[in-house]
Symmetry: C2
Subunit: 380 residues, 2 copies
Amino acid sequence: MKKVSLLAPGPTPVPSRTLLAMAQPLIHHRSADFLEIFGKVRQGLKKVFQTENEVLTFCSSGTGAMESSVANLLSPGDKAIAIRGGKFGERWTEILKAYGCQPVNLDVPWGQAVKPADVAKLLADDPSIKAVYVQALETSTGVAHPIEELAKVTAKTDAVLVVDAVSALLAYDIPVDKWGLDVVISGSQKAMMLPPGLGFVSIGPKALKLMESSKLPKFYFSWAKELKNQTQNKGAFTSPVTLFMGLLDIFDYIDELGMQNIFAETGLKSKAFKAAMAALGLTLYSKECPSQALTAVEAPAGVDAQAVVKWLKEKYGIFIAGGQDQAKGKIFRVAHMGHISEFDTLQGISAIEMALAGLGYKFEMGAGVAAAQKVFGEAI
Amino acid sequence: MKKVSLLAPGPTPVPSRTLLAMAQPLIHHRSADFLEIFGKVRQGLKKVFQTENEVLTFCSSGTGAMESSVANLLSPGDKAIAIRGGKFGERWTEILKAYGCQPVNLDVPWGQAVKPADVAKLLADDPSIKAVYVQALETSTGVAHPIEELAKVTAKTDAVLVVDAVSALLAYDIPVDKWGLDVVISGSQKAMMLPPGLGFVSIGPKALKLMESSKLPKFYFSWAKELKNQTQNKGAFTSPVTLFMGLLDIFDYIDELGMQNIFAETGLKSKAFKAAMAALGLTLYSKECPSQALTAVEAPAGVDAQAVVKWLKEKYGIFIAGGQDQAKGKIFRVAHMGHISEFDTLQGISAIEMALAGLGYKFEMGAGVAAAQKVFGEAI
């Protein structure tokens, strides 16, 4: 037998009830029933984003929503800071360049978080910088950037803060309005527990003002067009009806669980997993700011991290992620966000132990599982 | 009881088997299993498009795929013909303008098809025109434009022909390679019998050459990026895994039915429906080139077409579409593409009869249903 288990940072497992909610017969995207669903989805998104801002939904991956935050805010030649401490930080630079903007790259060593003072200095040195692009969680390194502090920096300037929270939102507390985050981006396939296919963007007043002066081309990803339509509970173009049915069910599920409980449970899985890795003598890739949404672990000396990933996938049908680019072969990454239970986490730890043993690493078998069980047991 | 029936031109009904195929547990978008599915989807798309060209898949509505055919072919200030005989033709002009190109608008009266000679003349008068944008089926009017003839015109010039076949592909025979169609766009939610969420683009050699000189910004919709990835059976960004599972099932279903049979059945439903409307004394909006994918019908004098649409929706849960803009209140539109049976079609005719009677139109009740039954009966 082979039971597939998803422990990679997205797509995460979708609850069966939600898969079945999406298997209902299609309804028309301009029907009264669908307008009602759209309205409920808008309210649900505001709750999850903890904001009064409008949260737009796009039929796209998270990258499409990221692109929209360049195309709708900037004009050709505009300068914007791209905080680059991993693969997704680098994507900001790529999008800015594709649109003929001038990225001001703030390179951060992989595994480390950006220092808000460095951003403050760049903005003070060049007041023409229009925006700061950053990840809440840099998925490629497991680092949580200090978003709240960055918002305090940009609040004192004309620059707009744009936060990619695709893998962070709902995995831990990111109160958009309380922290004053101008633009926050997320997607359906991580902590939101849905299949890939939806990108979300919350847009605050400072960003709406900058949007008015933007001259970059946009049509499908036009915020102005979608704001006009979505505030009337409809999409400018055909909405992905089935994913909206799924969202509706997920918002019910989130209400049943409670958002603070989801944050706490994700934190507990993270704590247990990190305790397990320590018990195995392994170290985290991020020393200072490890995220609780996923953990990036350094493979022990003499073990190729890609071999661990491959072992889990091929021998047990368990999907975790390896490192990318400079981190390739050095780390493996395990997700805690979304519809993943304590026992899914224990299963992952158990499989990692067996893979490490098979690959020749010496340690006391079962020590990781025991350490995690201790954390889970004490939490009840 | 109220059984919802979708007879509007998209989203069309999705077969139950396909809905359940999409309700399977998620798999990872970089797993070997998913690469295999991606490869099968590519082959299936080539079959449906009847082409050896690569057919790219985007996570977007059809409009996103339309936009990609502007962003990837043109440069700022480029001229392109937009054939405008309805709402979707007008969308070409909007996209071209959003990207800073110069639309050369060829306006065609609504309900009529473009004359290829008019396109030939425009291209002869201005050889700097880079592309011709047209709909195979103008969904807002029910008109099928003469695509094969247009391809003969553009073949003699440097201009690339871009065909929006979102509601036409698989509803009737559009052999991409045989006709030499440079770019053909489609979507998942019409004749492809899937939920909305996927846009498709087939790209021929002439278009690939023009693409090389394009200077418009693109990232999420970049053809070059996706060609590099999708020819290796993966998306550049996270693929909408569930819709791919659905596509795989749909391609099996299409193989079981046979593509020529699907075209013939769609034609038969169209013929029966049109016979029914004639029997009721109603006329088609498109006199010369009515499509077989959907029928646009003129409401009789004294009857508001919107009232017919509303009657069906509110009293019977049957969704057909009204007219848009200048056709609003004048026409109603009924789809024949996709997973719609003879009896779904008869049900639609029956409901239209009852609505017309209720709205005061005088005719022999049952005449439309009888005329359609005759067509269906003779076809067995």
